[in-house]
Every structure is written in C-alpha cells, then in structure tokens.
Symmetry: C2
Subunit: 545 residues, 2 copies
Amino acid sequence: MKIALIQINPIIGDFHGNADIIRRQALAAKEMGAQLAIFPELALCGYPPLDYLEHPSFVAGQNSCLEGLLGDIRGIAILCGMITLCPSKHGKPLHNTALLFRDGEILHASHKKLLPTYDVFDESRYFQPGTSSQFFCLDGLNLGITICEDLFNDIDAFPEQLYDIDPVAELNGQHDLDLLINIAASPFTMGKQHMRHKAFSAIGRKYGVPLLYCNQVGGQDSILFDGASFVVNAEGGLCAQATSFSEDILFIDSEALTPITASPAHEIAAVHDALVMGTRDYVRKCGFAKVLVGLSGGIDSALTCALACAALGPENVMGVGLPSPYSSQGSIADAQQLAANLGIRFELLPITTIFDSVKQSLAPLFAGYQEDVTEQNIQARIRGVLLMALANKYRALLLTTGNKSELAVGYCTLYGDMSGALAVISDVPKMLVYDLARYINRDKEIIPATTISKPPSAELAPNQKDQDDLPPYEILDPILAAYLEKHKPIPDIIAEGFDEAVVRDVVRRIKINEYKRKQAAMGLKVTSKAFGFGRRYPTAERFMD
Amino acid sequence: MKIALIQINPIIGDFHGNADIIRRQALAAKEMGAQLAIFPELALCGYPPLDYLEHPSFVAGQNSCLEGLLGDIRGIAILCGMITLCPSKHGKPLHNTALLFRDGEILHASHKKLLPTYDVFDESRYFQPGTSSQFFCLDGLNLGITICEDLFNDIDAFPEQLYDIDPVAELNGQHDLDLLINIAASPFTMGKQHMRHKAFSAIGRKYGVPLLYCNQVGGQDSILFDGASFVVNAEGGLCAQATSFSEDILFIDSEALTPITASPAHEIAAVHDALVMGTRDYVRKCGFAKVLVGLSGGIDSALTCALACAALGPENVMGVGLPSPYSSQGSIADAQQLAANLGIRFELLPITTIFDSVKQSLAPLFAGYQEDVTEQNIQARIRGVLLMALANKYRALLLTTGNKSELAVGYCTLYGDMSGALAVISDVPKMLVYDLARYINRDKEIIPATTISKPPSAELAPNQKDQDDLPPYEILDPILAAYLEKHKPIPDIIAEGFDEAVVRDVVRRIKINEYKRKQAAMGLKVTSKAFGFGRRYPTAERFMD
C-alpha cells in the first residue's frame, strides 16, 4: 500500500485553517498515488487545546469542519487525529481519537488508551481512555492504530511502565498485523529523537511488523513539536525519515520498505532549530510580526537576538541598548557590533537620568537604609518600563533573554529583565548557551567573540560578576540538572562530588525563587523538565530537601 | 464511640511541624475521652504537595515523621491522611491514603479511589487509585473510610458522575456500616458549603449511616480550605458543625448524635473570611510579616487594604499613594482617609517627575507616533517600580489589587498595577467587590463612602472612566460568569438577553488578554473557576467562539 505520512503544523482552534491544510495535503498525496494519508494526533483541532476541551462549542466547531472534510476528500483513505464525543454517561466526555475515513464514510475509530498525565501533559483531565484495541483491515492490510503514548508502555523498550496495560501487545495478540501505525503530538526534548528511534525500532522488530510514526510539527506556546516522523520495517530498520522542525511528507510503499542510512541528529543544531521554530510560531500564531530585544552586550541577549533573526528575519528584530551607570563601554560596543553583524536596527536608550529620578523620589523613604539589591532591581525594572513602552508603541513583542541557570537560582529581576512575551532561552542552561553561541558562529562571527569570552555580569553594581554571587556555571549547571530534571535527593548530588554547602545553597535558592518563576514569561521547552506549565510546585511551603 | 474531628492547617512539606500539631491535638482529644481522632486528607504532608510528590526525599521525609507519630501517640486510635507508597510496579508510585493506627500499630489503610483531575486538581498526575473499598471494624464499629472525592460520585446526590464507580455504594454493599467517614482537603468556593451539606446529608440518609466529614483548613497558595467539618446522623440531620476558616475540633459521641439547628452561612461574610485567611496564610507561610498596598483612592485597593489589615493587623500594612498628573484630589483624599480609618502608615509618592523623565527619554523614538495606551501603561509601570522598590527595601510583600472583572478583559497593566506577590481579590468580580466593601462598612465607615459611590476610574488619562471602555459591570459580570465559569457558548449567552456585539467583544477581550494572566500574581480562589492554576488555556490560538 502506498502511504503518505503528513506532518503538519496546525493552530489550536483554527478548525477551518487546519482542515484546509489536511484537505490540500491529502489531495496532493492522492495525486502522488497514495491510498492512505496519515495525519498527526489531534491534527484537526491542534494539540494541546487544554481547557477548550471543556467548551461544547469547541467540540462542535471541530466537528462541523470534519463534516466538510468527509465530503470533500474522495479517492483516498484518511487517518487523522481529532477529538470525539465519548458515548458513556460516566467519566470524561471526550476521546482522543484516530479517525479512519474514506469517500464520506467513517471506517474506524481508535481511541487513545494511555493518557499521559505528567510534566506538560494533562490528558486525564480531559479524556476518557479507550478500552478496546481493535485492528482494522483496510484493502486487505491489517492496521494496528495507536496514538502517541499508546506506544510507550512496552516492557522491553522502556525502563519503567507507567500504565497497567500495553495496547501494542493487545493489538498484536489479537491478529497478525501488517502495519503498526502511531499518530503523535510528541514534543521535542534533547535526546528524544534518539530514544524514539531506539524504542520504536525495538517494537517493530519484537512483533515483526513495520511501524509508521507520524508526529506533529510546530511550536504551540512553550511546547515544540519536532515532527521527524519515520518508518521502520519489520526488522526494525529505519526506512524513511522526515525533516525535523518543518512540515514534511513521507511517501512510502509498505510492500517495499528498504533500510536507509540516516546521519544522527546534531543535538546542538536540533536545539537551535527548535528554538527558532518555537520563536517563529509563537510570534506569528499570536498575530505579531516584529520583536524587540534588550541587548546588554552579554551572551544571553546576543543568543536570543540571533535566534529571533533566524526565526523572523533581521528586518523584524530591533535591538535596544539600555546602559546604566554600571554598564561598561565594552558592553555597549559588543551590543552594537552584534546588531551590525545581524543587520538589525539598534537604538541606545541610557537609563541614568530616570534612575536618578527614581532614587530621588524614594530618598525620603529610604533614609537610614543601606544600598542593597533594591537599587539593582530598580535599574532592571526601568529597562522593563522602557522596553515595554517601545513594544506597546511599535506593536512588537518583547523577547526576554534570561537563561535556565539564572531563572533557577533567581538571578533575575521580576518585572525587570524578566519582562517580555516569550522567554526564548529560559530552558537553556548557561553552558548550553555557550554551545549555541559557538554553533551560531560556526561559519562566521555573528555573536562577537568578546561577548563569548568575557566573564558573565549583570552590570547592576560596580565591577559585579555572576561568579561573585553564584558557583561557576560548570558546577551550577550539573547540580541544577540533577535536582530539577532527575529529582535527585541532596545527599545523592553531594555523593556525585559536589560540595555540600554549595548544593544546599543552590537548592535553597531554587525554592525561595519559585515566586518569581510563577510570574515568568512563557519559555520554550527543550529539556526533559522546563520551568513553567510542566513543573508545578507550591510557593508557600517548608520542604527543605 | 467518642470521636474527635480535628481540622488542622498544615504547611506543605513541614513534616515536623505538622506532626507536632497532630501529636498535640491527638493527645488533647484523648484527654477529652476520645477513642478516635480524625485528621484531614494529606494532613501529615499538607495538601496539595504538587510535584514534590515526584521527589523520593519528600515521601521519605514524611515517612520518617510518621514513624515518630506511631511511637508517640498511645491510647487513642488515629485516622490521618498521608501519602503511602504503592507496591505495584506499574502505574503511579503513590497512594493518597487514610491511615488508621493505634499504639504503634497500623490497623488499616484506605486508598483514595476517585482522583479529581479537573480545575485546580491534578491527582491522576501523582496517585494510583485504590482498587478495593474495605470497611474496618474498630472496637466493634464498622467504619467505612473514604477520602474527599470518593464521596462525590453518588448517583442521587450529584447531577453528573465523573467516574465509573461509587466507593460509598461499594462500602455499603459489603456490610452494614456503623459510620461513614470522609477525610478531605476540599477548597472553599461560594456555595460549596451548602452543596456539601445537602449532598452528604442525602448520602447519610440514603444508606442510613452517620457521616463524619473532616476537612482541612487554611490557605495553601491560591487554594482556600474552609474547614467547616460536620457530622450528620443516619437520618441526614446535622448534628455537629465546626468553624469555617480557622482550626477547630468537633467532639462527638457516635451513639448520641442529635440534630442541632445551625444558621446558614452568610455568603459575603464567608468570602470575606476566606480572603482574610488566604492573605494571612500566604504571607506568613512565605515567612513574611508586612505587606504594602498601592492606594489609588479607588474601591479595589481600598478593599484589598482592609482585608490585609484584618489578616495581618494594621501595624503590618503600609499604604502608598502614587498620584500621576491625572489623579484627582478626591482620590488622594480618599486614600488618606482610608489609611486613617484603618490606622495604617500612609506615604505619598507622586510619579509625575519620573513620568516626565521617561517620556523625555522615549521622545526621539516616539516621534511621529500618537499618544495611546502606551503612556497609560508607563504610569502604571512606574508605580510598579516604586512599590517593588519599597517592598524590596522594607522586606514586605506587595499586594496587587486588581479584581476579576478587569483581569478578565485585560483592563490592567502587566508589570504595572499587576505587580505583586499576591492578588487578594483577583477572583472577586467587581459587583462582589462592592458587596464586600459594604460588608466591611456594616458597623462603621472604614472604606470611605466616596470611594464606594464614585464611578470607577483608572485615572491614567484625563477624565477617564472604566465605563468609557467597558460595558457597565452590571452587564459585564454576568457575561463573564456565564463564559468563564459555565463555559456557555456565545449564542447561549446572547439568548439570555445580552447584546451580541457586547458579548462577542467581551469574549474577544478575554482571549486576547490570556498572555497577561499567564504572568499575573497568584490570586485567592473563591469562585468555581478562578484565573490561574485551575484554568489552562493556550495563548497562541485561534478559537473564536
């Protein structure tokens, strides 16, 4: 059977727009001779629709577009992800469904059985799980149809089983399958593509059945779907591979699946491309074209600005330098050089006069108090006022530039440098910031060498350096990864060779700064655990380990 | 059997502190002659611990305190909520458990079967549901032990069944129960106490069994547990009622449950008390004593300030007036009068000089652009800079003062008046703001009459009034309630008699301002659907109904 796996980039709730893409791509696949076109999980409504799933009008809106699709697409079978109403009177009212239809007729519906409810996923909040795994025979081929997580409970392929059942084992136990199909909305995180290849290849080999994996692509707020759909044959060999981070079609013949050699993805390049896609999709799906970045001359704002240019084009990016009395001449020069290298508009807006005015107003109320972090925060917040004023006036989105390491320990100012619509690199630890900067400079110097080589500084006080307040990033970053991503207890982290006082201080800082992150701008997720929606902690609490 | 229902106010992760309270109260109950002391759901670790449940050290910390409790409390049986490890290799690793123990011995464990996964609840994210409902015979009495949601799927008592099973029916089908016990961490929302009384009374009557309901009390971030534990007899008559919004003990004899007459709760008073408790608990559990409120002379900041005084004492509250060129003399006088009535420190900090300085800095970049909302936002953001500077310097928390109606339609400035640690009234619609102000003034004028009677205004432009931009609150508030709380489709709201253009514009404003709410301060929840953690919507989306 000739099959097209079509990884599309839907917009949540844009039923007409999504249906148009599905219609156009399905008919293109038919022209190419495909008998079956496969689209990702919830492709018709976009994933994740979150609490819109509780609105009857959302379901109705999707279904009225489905009616159109059923009528319009003739001569090719379509397997497409969408929400369907659950007929039961008890439990959640919806299923997450893979619907198979052709020539106006619904042939088969497979409901997702394993509902991820961890990290950024809340599927048990919305969906009733499917109860039976039924293969479907299409034109003589027995298809086992699964949805994303349904594939992730194989006892041999995964170290832990989050669910009591394995839908793949049930499908294969029923009948000889000719093809195992998985439609997905599986987010990118570092290392995930390798994990998918390894696991799905093992599953294909285990059951001796070719596996067709069709994944959504595109940024949906903080979640970055990488696409990278692929096909393995019954021996587990990779036979087709779609692009990452852009729409693509894989066209295959299920009778002739021959292995290809694919070069393994370059992880730094993948993170770069993920952030570029995420920035582009967030800005455009919100209806904006232009962005603004405050440029300090430091590496975080330089990286953010370079990513924004790759996403939107330099004509849509404006850099603003906002020097304070503590900004060095070198920093201003570095910011100007970066803007010149990228070819973007750059403006200088010194904050000293306003800073003086604010200090003067507060002087009577600050009498008798020492200078402290307050005066540093004031500078950062004045920058926030000016950048937001420019964003408002120019109808641009302000990008915020903080990295994951500083957000973790609270080395940032709420309503100051944390201001902005999107935190492009807030899930990128500082050491990875350097890797990405070097990757961007791989062919020619875009981010000035001095920006990369100088010691990091917030420049909010005389001769300030990050390393006066924080452990070196070579030490901080692995402690953060152990605590934030792996939830390792403090003694286990110390046992890895880190100083106890440093580890305890880092964990303390993570905790006492939870309140800042609760009001942080949305960030793009590239690690297994990002701050934001998928990481949920109380603020008023006393747990100290 | 003599039984004490003990509604406590635990702190999340403060295992030693929580265990101390449990130990002290259990021994006090024993002194009073109780054979059984009942504590709320997850009383030992606090509810909701959220992602701390994924930390092995959190579970270990709780369990080491449990060891102490088991050894220390003698001569009385304890039923207490806590997390326990689930022995199964598959599925989630924890149960939400009611543990019965006495004299160092664990007698029985009931695991929660119905795991709420909607609104602010994410229990399927963490817990494996219990599978069997087993009664336990304690000193000759058959106890049916349930946890919170387990009681909420009765087919007669509730209009819809969210789950496939009913643990109460299962328990009663097994054996004649002598007592049905429910330990809970059930948040307050308006009307909830009435709903609980009606439903639990019906359940007691249906099965002819007394029902003992023990609920947590206290604020945990945005969630306000009201306590209000109570007991109904086998005929469904109310026989004992604990206080709302404060720790309390209900002491009962299960052999002698005679009905009492309780006056129905006054809903406005309940909301008032909930907000006072929530403010006090958030500030204190975060380790702070003092708060700061920007006082505009308007009703929102006046109400917030009065609630803060009730929560923390006027000596811990400071008011700051920050007049701009557009502030009226009346507004400044109203703010001063409020501060005098409350007996708090009040300072005036005019923003005109700073505003001029900011406008001057931006003038070259704003050349050729019209004045617009940008200049209004600048004023609000300068106030944010000054208030946060005072909060930083004085080690106080800034309370933000916006109400639910304005947060819904985005009539507020991110990083401006939205700045602050806690949004005391962000779940209070404007009409309810007036009700609360009148309630606070019930005995004497605290909030100046002119503050209540004048038309609401942001005073960010000459002669500005809320009603120039927004529908009257008498119209706006019911539209918001229909859309936000009931998820009514637009045509249904119009059918209730509202103007179509107004309804569509309100819904449009709700949607395009989602990005502001994503960065809003945590607010105290008093309605069935508050902005924040329990309401989850995408930002980049196109759903228009």
